[in-house]
């Protein structure tokens, strides 16, 4: 059966899009708080750690000879073990997809629609996500190319910000006056999360191993964008002021002034809805693929509908931005588990299968 294959470059863009999200607005502050002066250097260190993890996922593809991760797990591990793992995995992925939207919506509400209930805004975005995901992964990847093109149109603004930067403001110190390093590392790792979903893309990618490098490319693109934003913020403000700014990137955008419109920061924030729809859509898509693998008779669009619906009602529970960030903190551990645990589980399954074949 000849199936359309995901373009390699689009896979890189998909990984990049899943990794970046609302975190780009708070990242400079988090780095300034936890890592201190010139803390952006920690991003480079984190990039290499993430690259190691991506290599682990790549090894699953190589050793599994391009099979889907569900096929690998099914052939290696017994069903009674897999059911609870799939349940936790699928629910966790759906919750991440849900909270990503909730966080965006809470900030949107704070900036632009203070009186409107946030769940109403979330409902509208969830409908958009549902329509987006039901088009299928190939259409999603093509749409993502267009989304990123629009977002990358904002990069030339950095020329304006560079003019206002002053290198002596960045100080020659490294990692001074940061606190709670552990929390900082978890938050920064959470910023790079999204690459672990590449494990679900195995059956949709082309045959051969060339496309695996493109996951690294997506990760590298994320590093580039994060470094650009963080270094600009460290030079535009100074690291002591960054600690007190909730959304440094929004403040920086607020400095732009066009002859026809005074402040476009809120409009630019609305552009990021495109990134959020893709991130959330990707997590929901992976979640429904887990549930569909578990219950083959379930039609994937119904699975998606129920996932979005149930998580929508769960999203009523966290009512403020702080609680959502706390939930994200817990989910970061879950994501770490998926990123490291799932490939390891798959490798274990492959090992067991090989062992069984050798004895047979």
């Amino acid at each position: 059966m000849s199936q359309e294959k995901l373009n390699r470059f689009f896979i890189a863009l998909m990984i990049h899009s899943t990794q970046t999200g609302v975190v780009i607005f708070t990242l400079p502050r988090i780095i300034a708080t936890h890592f201190g002066a010139n803390g952006w250097v920690a991003l480079i260190i984190m990039f290499f750690l993430v690259s190691l993890n991506i290599m682990l996922i790549n090894s699953v593809y190589r050793l599994g000879k391009g099979q889907s991760v569900f096929a690998i797990l099914k052939s290696g591990l017994p069903r009674f073990l897999l059911i609870p793992i799939y349940l936790v995995l699928g629910s966790g992925l759906a919750m991440v997809g849900c909270l990503v939207v909730k966080q965006y919506v809470l900030i949107y509400q704070m900036l632009i629609f203070p009186q409107t209930p946030d769940m109403l805004l979330k409902l509208v975005i969830d409908i958009l996500v549902f329509i987006f995901v039901t088009k299928g992964i190939y259409t999603m990847s093509k749409a993502n190319f267009f989304f990123l093109f629009l977002l990358f149109l904002m990069i030339p603004f950095s020329i304006v910000f560079i003019q206002n930067m002053d290198l002596s403001r960045m100080t020659p110190f490294l990692f001074q006056e940061g606190n709670d390093l552990g929390k900082g590392i978890i938050s920064m790792y959470g910023a790079f999360m999204g690459y672990e979903l590449s494990i679900f893309l195995f059956p949709y990618a082309e045959k051969g191993k060339k496309w695996l490098k493109y996951i690294h490319l997506g990760n590298g693109l994320t590093l580039f964008i994060y470094l650009l934003v963080t270094i600009l913020c460290f030079g535009f403000f100074n690291y002591k002021e960054l600690v007190h700014l909730s959304f440094p990137l929004l403040d920086m955008f607020g400095y732009l002034r066009f002859p026809f419109v005074e402040r476009i920061q809120n409009f630019l924030y609305s552009f990021f809805l495109l990134s959020i729809i893709f991130t959330s859509g990707m997590y929901y898509w992976c979640s429904q693929s887990v549930f569909t693998a578990m219950i083959p008779k379930l039609h994937w669009k119904w699975a998606l509908f129920f996932l979005i619906g149930i998580t929508y009602f769960i999203a009523y529970i966290p009512k403020s931005l702080i609680i959502v960030e706390k939930w994200f903190g817990f989910l970061s551990y879950f994501q770490l588990g998926v990123a490291i645990g799932l490939p390891l589980l798959a490798l274990l399954a492959l090992l067991l299968k090989k062992g069984r074949q050798a004895h047979a």
Partner: protein, 368 residues
């Protein structure tokens, strides 16, 4: 297909009805344009808000702005108190200028600035002005021959910033320099002079407290040390027969601050300035087309260096590091050394040299 779109549009229409809480009808909203803060007894603030009226209402009341005044402890408390008096919904999204009275600034501005940082609708591009005298009086006066007061203040400041006659200081620069331990913030000063408003110098701060000011004659020399100038004009008047009065235009300047350690281990700063300009007016006995031009350039370089050194001396005496020498010294130290340094003390006694080099680009239309 038709059923799907129909269902979707029905859902959307249903949702639209509940979005009515965040309506913004322009005529019903009072966009605060200018806010003024004066000190009152008991540590309270006298807060004056200027809200422009739409043309329809302005023609009815023969006024161009609605001025609201009250006494309160904080600016948002004042806004809530004043919203009981006006028929419009007061919002801060279009705040253009904030005026602080000098007495209030002397006490320290940080606690009054909390809402300026916290409120997401207040832009960092808002102008910050320190006024000699009462901010209330400046905002409520009418200046004949000038546009309506709030607009007059805003346009005067914007023009001065664009022409680079004074450094552009908005909320962003003020907060950024306030939080930086190697630099102290500055602000523009304004005062009422007869029937006009006048730019009255630069307010020098130490952290968030107003210390003293530089008079308008010194603004140019401070400005060329503060930033690289791309435009501007200035006049020099002396007793010397070679240079009774000379005015330059199209100023282009570059500054460079170098820090070195002398034999005693103390830090020495050297501010190097390269300035070029075209002559617009010259009253003196030299001929600019001959080698006298070099003589004049030498005199100008010396004069500028002297004036700049005098201003640096004033900054050091008042312990206000407005030029950011501390940032450059910090670049030479390790973190521990910088933290152990009492920068204010070192700055006050530091040897700071200024060397200016002036070049005459052209001497205008008149050949002498």
């Amino acid at each position: 297909m038709l059923r799907k779109t129909g269902l979707l549009s029905a859902v959307c229409l249903l949702l639209l009805t509940s979005c009515s809480q965040d309506q913004h009808i322009l005529e019903r909203i009072g966009y605060i344009r200018t806010a003024g803060y004066d000190l009152q007894e008991g540590g309270k603030l006298k807060i004056t808000l200027s809200v422009p009226l739409i043309i329809n209402e302005a023609s009815q009341t023969f006024q161009t702005d609605e001025i609201l005044t009250t006494v309160a402890t904080s600016s948002k408390e004042a806004r809530i108190k004043l919203s009981r008096k006006t028929s419009r919904n007061l919002v801060s999204g279009q705040l253009r200028t904030i005026l602080f009275n000098t007495d209030l600034a002397k006490q320290g501005l940080h606690k009054h600035m909390d809402t300026l940082l916290r409120d997401p609708s207040i832009s960092k591009l808002t102008e910050l002005v320190i006024v000699d005298g009462s901010a209330h009086e400046i905002m409520t006066s009418k200046y004949s021959g000038h546009p309506r007061t709030a607009q007059y203040i805003d346009r005067l400041l914007k023009k001065e910033f664009n022409m680079e006659t004074t450094p552009r200081i908005l909320l962003h620069e003020f907060f950024r320099d306030y939080y930086d331990d190697g630099k102290d913030p500055i602000a523009t000063m304004l005062r009422k002079s007869g029937n006009d408003l006048e730019l009255n110098g630069i307010a020098l701060f130490r952290n968030d407290k107003y210390i003293t000011k530089l008079p308008p004659e010194d603004i140019f020399y401070f400005s060329i040390m503060y930033q690289n100038q791309g435009r501007g004009e200035f006049t020099v008047v002396t007793e010397r027969p070679e240079m009774k009065s000379i005015t330059f235009t199209a100023i282009n300047s570059r500054k460079k601050i170098k820090i070195k350690k002398n034999q005693n281990g103390k830090y020495v700063a050297n501010i190097g300035l390269k300035i070029e300009g075209g002559v617009l007016e010259y009253i003196g006995n030299l001929d600019l087309s001959t080698s006298d031009k070099n003589k004049l350039e030498g005199i100008m370089s010396e004069y500028i260096s002297q004036q700049a050194k005098r201003i640096v001396g004033k900054l050091q005496h008042n312990r206000t590091d407005s030029l950011g020498i501390g940032q450059h010294v910090r670049n030479k130290m390790s973190y521990k050394a910088w933290k152990d340094t009492d920068w204010e003390d070192i700055y006050a006694n530091m040897d700071i040299q200024v060397h200016a080099k002036f070049m005459i680009k052209n001497f205008g239309n008149f050949y002498d």
